[in-house]
């Protein structure tokens, strides 16, 4: 292919570092050596950008910039000409998610575990903001220093410039845009402040707040408001460099490291609230929710760190490998392709790769999965440059732009293509210069030996294979470094094999050299180019369409390939537990239309409805769990005693298998509460168990907002392993936290009312929630145990003019039922938990019964992902403990919680017009023998025992397919082969959120969220 007809004047320098600019202010320790630094690259295929390719074109660069590019440009006299026949020139790649040249700060010891000593205030010294994780004042350009080794690593895979920032904190200050040129730092800084960066990680901050996902979101939200307020130079704030910087950084491109599909959406939502469109750094699993990604309208930065296949050689290890992990292994390379298909703007990054050298291989894999080469090139050049507003400077081969470009041996993404040189700011960096010359071909070889001339045909082939053909074919090797050539061949086999070695120099298409045979005889040789090697057709790689599994919603076992649709249902001949004054109805039909209960009666008919025969079965309203902690990314923000600003709804996690498990126990609505780490916890989120829905679709629309409070041992951190340093430490202090909070809220409300200019009053999201409570716009559910603390909160509520809507747990509610009744509270309790901590010593299983008898509205809750799927039976325990009627008992998990959650108009009973949230049971629903056969939410059957049985088989089959695929790959790949990386089988652990100290089992692979480092 490549011929030696033309001579190249290029001198290959051993070092790639040449200082082309001497910095004016710096003294010179040498003789001045100014250079013009003009180069002309001729006869190349120049890919200016993904859309424009010039054949046989030339490019001139001068002083680090592109001077001209085109087919018929004149070559300046002072240019060093580099002939590039057969070569390709591309714009160098740009990575806008990097911390290149910026040291990673070390994290100090400490943490924010539930029971740890807390760091209440910031450790950052100076006139900065209150929270150590908000570091808006950090400017990357001030701390940047080029890292030669890392620059080379990046250049070797085609990158020429990066946006780098300090990866530390939630707000990380500004990023700076630099090239990877081997130049003094002063010259590689292209744009000092090129971005503002954010993340969901506290980084090195040991400050206790925020300790949760929702706390981080709340902190960002409050900081946006504070920064706005700070623009008025409030005297009671003084100088706050952090807020000042925050404001200054707002006009930059805003980049958010989210790293996961749900986090992407969380980040985008914060942005939406404040008119900011973040550029989102994804995590690689976005293809699982591509529609939602598209709806963000964000541009994305995508990593290419595909998961390694797991070893599948031990069935007992495989037992604990998750189907979702296997599926993700298979589908992850399709992430970028999914973005392209969905028309979402994205660029690519080397971030998250354990080894940057995997980048190209992974990119090719992404292309194999459907990413087009044009899009890939855009994603590495034009898109990242454009996102930073720097496309006028960099990102394509265009006159006037920075001379950052690649010279390759072929199309840049082709597997055989070699990246030869990577020029940054007009400076050459050799990558694989030795491949610049392609000497493959057929030569006439003559050895001038003692015994006369011997002629061979010499074939130089791919992979350094040399063949000397006379009568026989002698095989050997060759290598060429641009100057000198080395060859050898072997005669004979085994022991009798002899080796002849040769070396020489290349002058145009004639080679001259000397050799030595096995006997020690020296000879000279010449070789002249005859003809190019026969091209092998590249048809070997006919692409088979990929056989891939499907994305399911959620991306777990039992997920849907297509979301179930609402249908009209006619449930026939059931025993219907209405949870209404009608009580239980025998042989009754229920007609469901458009998600609502349309009719209840005997002998109903409807032509549009699917008929479900429920003869001998029981139908109840869907079970409502007043106290649950499933389906959330974090549950406790324990960083402070008052965190009314945090919202569970900010961090729902639809990928929680417990949604499905609880549907299998008849639960249709769950109230997701903040944990009990602090007195005034976070805002709660009511959800319907719409398995497969996204985070927003899970929410129970139009429900009154609630908030979690907590009293007693957890909030005073009684079991803190290292002592408690957070106020309060006693129930006396808990009461004062409440009084103080509502006093502040009252003053705040008054200040807001009286302020002429509202914007001068600092908007305080923490107090906003408390004002809502006082104005009966938000309602409390309060974790509580002993009667004294319950009584105290009632008194605080009376003083501030509101009612505590619900006391939850309320295990000593029976002792104070009269006062609860007088105050107007609802109660929600465990059936029979007790004696696992001091404050539950007097808990009794008769609690629900007694409170019910006193006339309170009583619910039975779970607070537990396991127990929630047996709530019907937990309610039934009041039949045993106290002799409650069965109808009253069932009401404790249907209409009663509906009432206390203010959703009894929509759900909680079987009544015409209400949501069709229904359960069909195999038996009396209070019986230990009852199984939910179908669980219906909004008229959609989300759990069906028949589908469940089919899914079990399907999950197994899918798992088997993936395991076989990996096994086959491993066989063909061999150790360290092309099949990619392997890692040992990793069990699929489940993080289970709980309110507090739990002693109820959650399965073998459960990890309590309190035990997991959230960093």
């Amino acid at each position: 292919m490549q011929k030696l007809k033309f001579l190249l004047v290029l001198l290959l320098t051993a070092t790639s570092i040449q200082i082309i600019k001497a910095q004016a202010t710096f003294p010179v320790n040498d003789v001045a050596n100014p250079k013009i630094a003009c180069f002309a690259f001729t006869n190349a295929t120049i890919v200016k950008d993904a859309q424009t390719t010039l054949l046989n074109a030339s490019m001139v660069i001068r002083q680090g910039k592109i001077e001209s590019v085109g087919n018929n440009i004149s070559i300046p006299k002072d240019a060093v000409v580099i002939g590039c026949r057969g070569k390709y020139i591309y714009p160098a790649f740009i990575d806008i998610y990097s911390n290149y040249g910026i040291a990673t700060p070390e994290r100090q010891t400490g943490g924010a575990g539930f029971f740890r000593t807390q760091q209440i205030t910031s450790n950052t010294k100076g006139a900065y903001g209150w929270n150590q994780a908000i570091k808006s004042e950090i400017d990357a350009y001030k701390i940047f220093s080029a890292d030669a080794a890392k620059a080379k690593t990046l250049r070797d895979i085609g990158f020429g410039a990066v946006l780098t920032h300090q990866k530390d904190g939630i707000a990380r200050g500004t990023g700076t845009f630099v090239t990877l040129a081997s130049q003094p730092d002063n010259f590689v800084l292209i744009k000092e402040k090129a971005s503002a960066n954010y993340s969901f990680s506290r980084g090195t901050s040991g400050q206790s707040y925020p300790s949760s996902m929702m706390g981080m979101i709340a902190l960002l939200r409050q900081t946006y408001l504070d920064a706005q307020w700070y623009k008025n130079n409030p005297s009671n704030e003084g100088e706050n460099i952090t807020l000042k910087s925050w404001n200054e950084n707002q006009n930059l491109p805003q980049i958010f490291e989210a790293n996961d599909k749900w986090n992407d959406l969380r980040a985008d939502k914060i942005g939406d609230e404040f008119g900011v469109q973040y550029i989102i750094k994804g995590g690689g699993n976005e293809y699982q929710r591509i529609k939602e990604m598209s709806e963000t309208k964000a541009s994305f930065i995508l990593p290419l760190n595909f998961p390694a296949a797991m070893d599948v050689d031990d069935p007992n290890d495989l037992r604990f490998v998750g189907l979702d992990d296997l599926k993700h292994w298979e589908l992850a390379p399709g992430n970028a392709a999914a973005f392209e298909k969905a028309g979402i703007n994205f660029c690519l990054t080397t971030a998250d790769l354990s080894n940057p050298s995997e980048f190209m291989a992974n990119l090719r894999k992404a292309i194999e999965y459907g990413l087009t080469e044009n899009k890939a090139l855009d994603a590495l050049t034009k898109t990242p440059a454009s996102l930073l507003g720097l496309y006028d400077k960099i990102g394509s081969i265009e006159a006037g732009k920075i001379a950052n470009f690649l010279i390759t041996s072929g199309p840049v993404f082709a597997e055989k293509t070699v990246l030869l040189q990577n020029w940054t700011q007009g400076i050459k960096n050799a990558v694989k210069d030795e491949n610049w010359y392609d000497v493959k071909g057929v030569y006439n070889f003559i050895a001038n030996t003692n015994t006369g001339a011997k002629a061979y045909q010499l074939n130089l082939k791919d992979g350094g294979v040399a063949q000397f053909i006379n009568k026989d074919t002698l095989t050997g090797k060759y290598s060429y470094d641009g100057h000198l050539v080395k060859l050898n061949y072997t005669e004979g086999r085994g022991r009798n094999a002899t080796e002849t070695i040769l070396s020489g120099a290349v002058t145009g298409n004639t080679w001259n050299g000397t050799g030595k045979d096995a006997m020690g005889n020296s000879f000279t040789w010449t070789a002249s180019f005859d003809k190019a090697a026969a091209e092998k057709s590249d048809s070997a790689k006919t692409q088979k369409p990929l056989a891939l599994g499907k994305v399911t919603y959620p991306f777990l076992s039992y997920g849907w390939e297509e979301m179930p649709k609402q249908q009209n249902l006619l449930i026939k001949n059931a025993t219907v537990w209405t949870s209404e004054k009608e009580g239980n109805l025998q042989n009754t039909d229920i007609l469901v239309k458009n998600g609502k209960i349309a009719a209840i009666g005997k002998n109903l008919s409807d032509a549009t409805a699917r008929i479900i025969d429920a003869s001998g079965k029981n139908v109840t309203p869907g079970i409502i769990d007043e106290h649950s902690h499933i389906a959330a990314a974090s549950i406790n923000e324990g960083g402070q005693s008052v965190t009314s600003e945090v919202r569970i709804g900010d961090n729902l996690n639809p990928d929680d298998i417990n949604i499905y498990r609880q549907l299998s126990g008849g639960v249709t609505t769950s109230h997701i509460l903040h944990g009990s780490a602090n007195t005034i916890g976070g805002q709660t989120q009511l959800i319907k168990l719409r398995w497969g829905a996204n985070d927003q679709q899970l929410k129970f629309a139009g429900a009154d907002p609630f908030i979690k409070f907590a009293l007693g041992e957890n909030v005073k951190r009684s079991t803190s392993s290292q002592g408690n340093n957070r106020f309060p430490d006693t129930r006396m202090g808990v009461e004062q936290v409440l009084v103080d909070a509502f006093t502040r809220a009252s003053d705040y409300q008054a200040a807001l009312k009286s302020a002429v200019n509202k914007s001068t009053v600092r908007r305080d999201l923490e107090l906003d929630a408390l004002v809502e409570i006082m104005n009966k716009k938000r309602f409390i559910t309060c974790h509580s145990y002993v009667q004294s603390e319950i009584n105290s909160l009632i008194k605080v509520a009376d003083r501030f003019g509101f009612t505590v809507n619900t006391f939850t747990h309320v295990l000593e509610g029976y002792k104070i039922a009269d006062k609860l009744k007088a105050h107007g509270s609802n109660t929600s309790t465990f059936s029979d938990w007790w004696n696992y901590k001091m404050e539950v010593m007097d808990a009794i299983p008769y609690n629900a019964y007694i409170m019910h008898q006193v006339g309170l509205n009583v619910a039975i809750n779970s607070d537990d992902a396991e127990m929630a799927r047996r709530l019907n039976q937990e309610a039934a325990k009041s039949v045993k403990y106290g002799g409650m009627s069965e109808i009253d008992a069932l009401d404790m998990v249907t209409i009663n919680p509906a009432k206390m959650l203010h959703i009894d108009k929509q759900t909680g009973s079987i009544k015409v017009g209400k949501d069709a949230d229904l359960v069909i049971w195999s038996d009396n629903p209070l019986s230990i023998y009852a199984k939910a056969e179908k669980t219906i939410v909004d008229g959609i059957i989300y759990f069906d025992r028949d589908r469940d049985a089919a899914m079990r088989k399907q999950n197994q089959a899918e798992k088997a397919r993936l395991i076989a695929k990996i096994a086959a790959l491993k066989k063909t790949a061999g150790p360290g082969g092309s099949g990619g990386n392997f890692r040992s089988a990793r069990p699929r652990f489940e993080v289970i959120n709980t309110c507090e100290d739990h002693y109820h089992s959650h399965g073998l692979l459960a990890i309590d969220s309190e035990d997991v480092d959230n960093q």
Binding site: G111, N316, F320, G322, L323, L556, S557, R661, S664, K815, A817, D818, D832, W834, N835, Y836, K837, M838, M841, D842, P845, Y846, Y849, I850, Q853, V854, A865, E866, M867, R869, Q873, K880, G882, G883, E886, N924, S927, I928, Y929, K931, N955, A985, R986, R988, F989, E990, D997, H998, Y999, H1000, S1001, H1002, G1003, L1004, L1005, A1006, I1007, D1011, V1012, D1013
Partner: protein, 431 residues
């Protein structure tokens, strides 16, 4: 509520008991007692309708439909159900009073190899939890130490005693081996703990090997008639070698259980698996090797995210089908063991017959604990450990225990919780 309180009132009137602290153990059985007209669930699968149980001097003398009741105090149990006293097969009852108060925890001793530790000597007969179990039909419990690797010996106690000596029903019957986990937990970083660099599985295996070494040394030691230096740890496991004791191996995953089988083979021990969450996967192997199983907690989430949502519930039926000797336990730390019957009830909903489910908390448990000769079923010659329920004991709607007898003694069915309920019912005038 009414019925219970009527009953409690009777108790209070007859025994003059007013508070938990003064609920006294019953005196030895003086008169012959006949429970008549009841549905008798024998515990071995059999059901006797309209039957009578007669017991005297603590032992059952007659069971059947034609028993003669002359001379006996007759308790008419018409419409009621009679069951063997339920057996809690693995618990920290009386060792842990309140889980999160360190001072009340006597279940976990320091050190890894503590075979000579004995749970019985720390068993607190005045634990407030005990009386809440009796009222749910549980009359016997196996008290298990849980620290380290070889945790010590367990003893079975009866739940109506003045002190631990009174309570002892079978002393030191089991040695407990908490097998190090072979689940690859990776190198996850937890708060406070440094990430270990050791492969957790390899580490587990080497520790298991240490246990084997211990038993090999013990065997050699015990083979010697006299010792200059007495080794209490070796002495403590003598019963394993002569089969007076069983080795209870607490483990859950297949690899662990297979190694447990290996212990049985190498040393010839009677091995019982405790926990055994994945026992359903190797039921045939367990059956073939006569390994018994205590399923610790049915009311649990599936082990794996991909598992059948009801896997824990149906595991008993799978073991039953394979012929494995197993029992069902309740070691819930929040409800404090009292839902034993309902764990069995759930197993029945998912495949066991009701009588099989009952066996899993009575006769099977007795067999596994080595007390089947004395209890576990309502059969002539066995201790009169009997409960009478208003209805199906496995279902919370009908599990209302009206009479209970331990070794023939009619025990007081009262507890602190009932007393608190009564106190406040009085306050609110609830009848």
């Amino acid at each position: 509520m009414k019925k219970i309180f009527l009953y409690i009132c009777v108790c209070i009137a007859t025994t003059n008991v007013l508070a938990q602290e003064t609920i006294s153990p019953a005196a030895a059985q003086k008169e012959t007692i006949a429970l008549t007209n009841a549905t008798i669930h024998v515990g071995n699968g059999q059901v006797i309708n309209n039957g009578t149980v007669i017991f005297n001097n603590g032992k059952i003398t007659e069971v059947g439909t034609t028993a003669t009741v002359t001379g006996a105090r007759v308790i008419d149990c018409k419409g009621k159900h009679i069951y063997p006293g339920l057996i809690l097969s693995s618990s920290q009852l009386g060792l842990i009073e309140i889980n999160n108060i360190r001072a009340t925890i006597d279940a976990t001793e320091i050190g890894e190899m503590n075979p000579s530790i004995r749970s019985l000597v720390a068993y607190n007969t005045d634990s407030k939890v005990i009386n809440t179990l009796r009222t749910n039909g549980i009359l016997l419990a196996n008290i298990v130490p849980s620290g380290g690797i070889i945790s010590g010996s367990s003893s079975v106690v009866q739940l109506d005693a003045w002190n631990w000596e009174d309570a002892a029903y079978k002393t030191d019957g089991g040695i407990h081996f908490h097998m190090p986990s072979l689940l690859n937990r990776g190198r996850r970083r937890f708060f406070g703990a440094q990430a270990s660099n050791a492969d957790p599985v390899k580490e587990g295996l080497s520790r298991i090997e240490e246990v084997k070494t211990f038993f090999r040394e013990a065997k050699a030691y015990l083979g010697q008639a006299k010792h200059e230096n007495t080794n209490l740890k070796f002495e403590a496991v003598k019963g394993l070698f002569d089969k007076r004791q069983k080795l209870f191996i607490h483990c859950n995953i297949v690899k662990e259980m297979l190694l447990a089988v290996d212990f049985a083979k190498e040393f010839g021990f009677d091995v019982v698996l405790v926990g055994a969450i994945d026992s359903w996967q190797i039921a045939d192997i367990l059956k073939k090797n006569n390994i018994a199983v205590i399923l610790n907690q049915l009311h649990d989430l599936p082990a794996m995210i991909d598992d059948d949502v009801d896997q824990p519930f149906k595991t008993p039926a799978m073991l039953q089908k394979a012929g494995v000797l197993f029992c069902i336990n309740d070691n819930d730390g929040n409800s404090r063991y009292r839902n034993l019957a309902f764990n069995a009830g759930t197993a029945s909903a998912y495949g066991l017959s009701k009588e099989e489910a009952l066996s899993a908390i009575t006769l099977n448990a007795a067999a596994i604990l080595g007390i089947a000769d004395k209890t576990g079923s309502i059969e002539t010659g066995k201790d009169a450990n009997i409960v009478v329920s208003e209805g199906d004991i496995l279902d919370m709607r009908t599990n209302i225990i009206v009479h209970a007898f331990i070794q023939g003694r009619q025990i007081v069915l009262n507890n602190k919780q009932m007393q608190l309920a009564e106190k406040y019912e009085k306050k609110y005038g609830i009848k």
